[in-house]
């Protein structure tokens, strides 16, 4: 009986001790599990140790998965950032969830700070705000003025709904496209205008010749005027063909040697003839040095049209008291330069940059001041093309009242010693 009591007492003591020990382990486990990443894992025997080890393994797996998906998300976002189009993700209320670098630069957004901001609070263009409010998914074209206020960017915005009432906005930069379209429109308009003018004159004279009984002299005069107009149309078409050939054909090779002496002599003769036709002999002083002492590699026909365009311009625009000089020389960097200097009226700075555009005229009245048949408005454009195809540049130095200086500058690679 006494033994039983002692045994029971021992059992009780044992159970209580076990309970206390387990409670102590449980507390250590709990302390560790609250923040398993930073706290050290406690050393524990038996079941507790096993439980801790399994928990740690499971946590590790979880963490690895989380890291992996975070890394995947980062890669995805980094990829969206380098996309050439602007991307903005919006939640159901139109607040920014994410915007990539391009969209941020278009609208001066700050991807981190502007998260959760309503997009229409920051992109306040009324057309865009109205577009955001409507449900249709038709694209919208808008202008934004970010970065450089003078330079505006044309964007096309498209909206794609996704997920739980979220939407993706895609902004494509169409500035270059719109510019090309405008240039093409202008080009067609210019060409048709340039062709229509002589055609109208021709048609008028044809009608007159058909309906009126004219004397022989009058007929001859009208036919002469008609011939002038056809020449003008012919040269326009020839210039257009030259330009399209220049754009379409391969660059002039390095193997063809252009005899500059011969070429310059020909161009000089042309210039003298033109001057004589327009102003009579000896009106203009033309000095052209025809012996450069070196040759160029390239296309003789192209270079000839470039040089004669410059000389013809100088003759036409400098008037009957014109002084024109032209010469070849070597550049300090061993390149070559052909320059034509005249004492004409000069060109105002605002026109200089646009001078080589097709059909660009300093102004309509100036064209009338030029002598002889009107130019086609394509000469300098051709000259610039030819020079650039030979790796060179066309430079123009001019100021109103100070004459002009046109220079073709070719690189050393094109220069051949005599």
């Amino acid at each position: 009986m006494k033994l039983l009591v002692v045994l029971l007492a021992l059992l009780l003591v044992f159970c209580v001790t076990l309970l206390l020990v387990n409670r102590w382990y449980a507390r250590r486990f709990m302390r560790w599990i609250t923040d398993p990443a930073t706290n050290p894992m406690p050393e524990m025997p038996a079941a507790w140790g096993l439980a801790a080890a399994y928990t740690r393994r499971a946590l590790g797996r979880e963490q690895a998965l989380a890291n992996e998906s975070a890394a995947r998300l980062d890669t995805l976002l980094a990829a969206l950032d380098v996309l050439p189009a602007g991307i903005v993700l919006l939640d159901n209320e139109g607040r920014i969830l994410f915007c990539n670098a391009v969209a941020a630069s278009h609208f001066e957004l700050d991807p981190a700070r502007d998260r959760g901001q309503h997009i229409v609070h920051l992109v306040r263009d009324p057309a865009f705000v109205a577009w955001c409010e409507q449900v249709s998914n038709a694209p919208l074209e808008l202008t934004c003025h970010a970065d450089a206020p003078a330079k505006s960017i044309r964007l096309v915005a498209q909206r794609q709904p996704y997920g739980d009432d979220c939407s993706l906005l895609l902004f494509t930069d169409v500035t270059a496209q719109r510019q090309t379209e405008a240039m093409r429109r202008d080009f067609v308009a210019n060409v048709s205008h340039e062709i229509r003018t002589p055609l109208t004159v021709l048609a008028g004279f044809v009608e007159t010749l058909q309906s009126l009984d004219l004397s022989h002299d009058e007929q001859a005069r009208y036919l002469g005027l008609m011939a002038q107009q056809t020449v003008r149309m012919q040269s326009l078409v020839a210039d257009l063909l030259t330009l399209s050939r220049l754009e379409g054909s391969p660059l002039p090779g390095m193997n063809e040697r252009v005899n500059l002496h011969e070429l310059t002599t020909q161009c000089a003769a042309e210039a003298h003839t033109l001057s004589m036709l327009l102003y009579g002999a000896d009106a203009q002083q033309i000095e052209i040095e025809t012996a450069p002492g070196f040759d160029l590699a390239g296309s003789s026909a192209e270079l000839r049209s470039a040089m004669s365009n410059l000389l013809a311009n100088a003759v036409r625009y400098s008037g009957s008291k014109g002084k024109i000089s032209a010469r070849w020389s070597r550049e300090s960097n061993h390149g070559a330069r052909f320059e034509v200097i005249d004492n004409g009226p000069g060109i105002a700075p605002e026109h200089l940059l646009r001078l080589t555009e097709r059909f660009y005229r300093v102004d309509r009245s100036r064209t009338r001041h030029a002598q002889g048949e009107d130019g086609t408005g394509l000469g300098l454009s051709i000259t610039r093309h030819v020079t650039e195809r030979h790796g060179g540049t066309l430079q123009i130095v001019s100021a109103p009242g100070q004459g002009s200086r046109f220079m073709l500058i070719f690189p050393q690679a094109r220069v051949l010693a005599e």
């Binding site: 609070h121 920051l122 009324p126 003025h145 206020p149």
Partner: protein
């Protein structure tokens, strides 16, 4: 991060009001850009459009004021809410005035065009107008983000616009002395320049309102350094005008 009101209805009312204010701001911005375009392209058509747009700006001002009155009457706001609502009233008034100036520029462009004088220094004016439009845009950005750092830079930039104006006036005087025939066109240009200078001031007022909301400090009629010193130690008020802060 921001403290929500007990009534979430109040929160959404404030957010809506800010949205309407910023939409009005967007309209005024586009009015300014169009006025600038009318000036650059000398376009009668665009000038006409700006003058028509002015009516919409006015209508929005009235609508916002009404909304504002209703909110104040119903919610009887205090502290930062009261400051926000007061600022909305101020910003609305300033935007409306800036819109008026845009319409004035459009009107003057038309009168310059009918006078037909082209030798005047228009390009300087374009630059200043660009600067002023940029300032209005920046001030509205600062309001949307409740960003006092940007607001301070606007106070600085407005000084640049004022300086530009002084220089332009001196230049115009020399033009008028050289050729008295340009006087009537020059006077129109002077009005445009003054309008641009005023637009800069309105942007500055908006920026000051932003500082008032966020810091609770009134920096009007203070020098820049005083204003900077005054708000340096004040913590930003917690306020919600529609931005959600994701974790």
């Amino acid at each position: 991060m921001t403290e929500k009101h007990l009534s979430s209805q109040f929160d959404s009312e404030l957010a809506n009001l800010s949205s309407h204010l910023l939409a009005m701001g967007g309209l005024v911005e586009s009015q300014l850009r169009q006025a600038l375009m009318a000036l650059t392209d000398q376009s009668d058509e665009i000038a006409e459009a700006v003058m028509a747009g002015e009516l919409r700006v006015n209508a929005m001002e009235i609508a916002i004021d009404e909304e504002l009155t209703r909110i104040i009457a119903r919610r009887q706001p205090a502290a930062v809410d009261l400051r926000l609502l007061l600022s909305v009233a101020r910003v609305t008034a300033n935007l409306e005035r800036a819109g008026d100036e845009a319409a004035k520029i459009a009107r003057m462009v038309r009168s310059i065009m009918s006078a037909g004088s082209s030798s005047l220094p228009l390009s300087d004016l374009r630059l200043a107008c660009d600067l002023a439009a940029e300032l209005i845009a920046k001030s509205l950005d600062a309001f949307a983000r409740l960003d006092t750092a940007t607001a301070i830079t606007i106070l600085k930039d407005d000084i640049a616009v004022d300086r530009e104006f002084d220089g332009f006036v001196r230049k115009l005087v020399t033009y008028m002395m050289e050729d008295p025939r340009t006087i009537s066109a020059s006077l129109s240009l002077l009005f445009i320049a003054k309008a641009i200078e005023r637009i800069g001031d309105h942007a500055k007022n908006i920026a000051e309102s932003v500082i008032y909301v966020v810091k609770g400090a009134d920096v009007r009629h203070r020098s820049l350094t005083e204003a900077e010193a005054e708000i340096a130690d004040i913590a930003d008020a917690r306020i919600d005008i529609g931005q959600v802060h994701y974790e």
